[in-house]
Symmetry: C2
Subunit: 311 residues, 2 copies
Amino acid sequence: MSLTVVGSVAFDALETPFGQRDKILGGAGTHFALSSSFFTDVNVVGVVGDDFGDAEWAVFERHNINTDDVEVVAGGKTFFWRGRYDYDMNTAHTLDTQLNVFETFDPKLSEKSKSARLLFLANILPTIQKQVREQCENAQFVAMDTMNFWISSMKDQLIETIKVVDCVIINDAEARQLTDEPNIHKAAKVILNYGLKALVIKRGEYGAVLFTKDNFFVVPAYPLESVFDPTGAGDTFAGGFMGYLASQVEITEDALRRAMIYGSVMASFNVEEFGTERVDRLTHDEINERFRAFKRMTHFEEIPFEKSAAA
Amino acid sequence: MSLTVVGSVAFDALETPFGQRDKILGGAGTHFALSSSFFTDVNVVGVVGDDFGDAEWAVFERHNINTDDVEVVAGGKTFFWRGRYDYDMNTAHTLDTQLNVFETFDPKLSEKSKSARLLFLANILPTIQKQVREQCENAQFVAMDTMNFWISSMKDQLIETIKVVDCVIINDAEARQLTDEPNIHKAAKVILNYGLKALVIKRGEYGAVLFTKDNFFVVPAYPLESVFDPTGAGDTFAGGFMGYLASQVEITEDALRRAMIYGSVMASFNVEEFGTERVDRLTHDEINERFRAFKRMTHFEEIPFEKSAAA
């Protein structure tokens, strides 16, 4: 029961139609770790500058997240991203990106981080993802994210990385771009054929789809009348998904399906407020209540139609 | 156990990336009637010209669809639509529309058609939909479709029509346009508040959503590697939905949910070939097999997470 995530720990500045924040805790590694911490023990591997303050460390501490492998670069500045969302919350408009200490991020994994049963490689350089994966020889289930930038600039290296993991978690546009295949089902086949056990394709307001060798499972998004801030939703999904899997003795098809639901549950909370604010104060009761809501909104009785029995 | 549909019976000419057809049986009333005929007895109310031939009538006869109320205008020509789809199968490009006898369509319902337990008002002038609804005093469940053209040109009359039916079946763009509300959940509330028992919002490749007063139910689309011809998919969905409801003694939440699945099943077959070709030769075994596939792709065990029980 342990999980390691390698990814960015950052500051975000956000503008949405509902408000703004100047400098709040963000980053893929952060959102993932926070979300997964509700299900399992988490190690986060990242890098920050010495501008990373007590309030930020406290979020990790509150959730018993092991930050021993978050390197602090003396005199350095933490990765900073400024973005804006319009009413179409599906698209983030980047206003400023300062990689700072993240530019030369060289993940250093302690024995504890290396020996985790599950590993998540958040969106970083594909060659670094591969190096990290190779350091975690005993990881039983390794998942990764990526982004359009790496697909267009480093496709070959990216595919080499995909070949050494068990699961890819990406969005539909990325799946299409990676395969040059507009149909999502054909694209999924191509990606699965790199040797994956599972492929998760996220579809924003339409939910997410799990592809395995012989199965296909669809999860809708939780019905929200307003999305307050979508930043980190994908990593929060991945955190719920991987965190739940880490809590399970075996990674079966049934466990993967429930993991898809828990991922969707966590993402649905994440977007209700800015940054980590909502997930930070979440309870297990709230999580399970929303899990049951997913059951209610997808369940139907399997009664085949019989013409002779019709009214 | 009976259902009446009022709508177009037409000829279509279609071009898709996969082939073309010059003049095939089409029309909302046709696709609806054919789909619903697998579940119940159907009366279709429409109008054609005397160019409507034996081959077309034979499709209705094969499925025991009552066409007594399809008026044949001597010397008239049947409604004709020519359309083209590119690889993005979500958008139909209209190349030619000849309303012909449909331009002055004045539905005349026999006592048999008027006395059906369920009624579907396919996409026609909202004022005619309302007149028809008022003729069917004893109909227990009345559903309607509409389109962007009526929403922009006759919104007030359209809303008056919505107020006298039980269910609206439209797509997401229409729901947004009707309410000036980009969020689909907020739009649904506005439309339900016109006094509906149920609202179905179709989302193309993402499936469909059922809104009732206290519930929300999501159905994904069946995973298809290629959509051959989407013409009539929406009416075929509505036909499966209403046909299944007509077969049920009571229209409960559970029945509505299964009707959503049967609608999706029928639509998924419809798009596999041109026009009515696939549905025309469908069997009940094929329908039930695909119904079970929908269960497989949405089912998960409802096991709440317990931290103390985690691996």
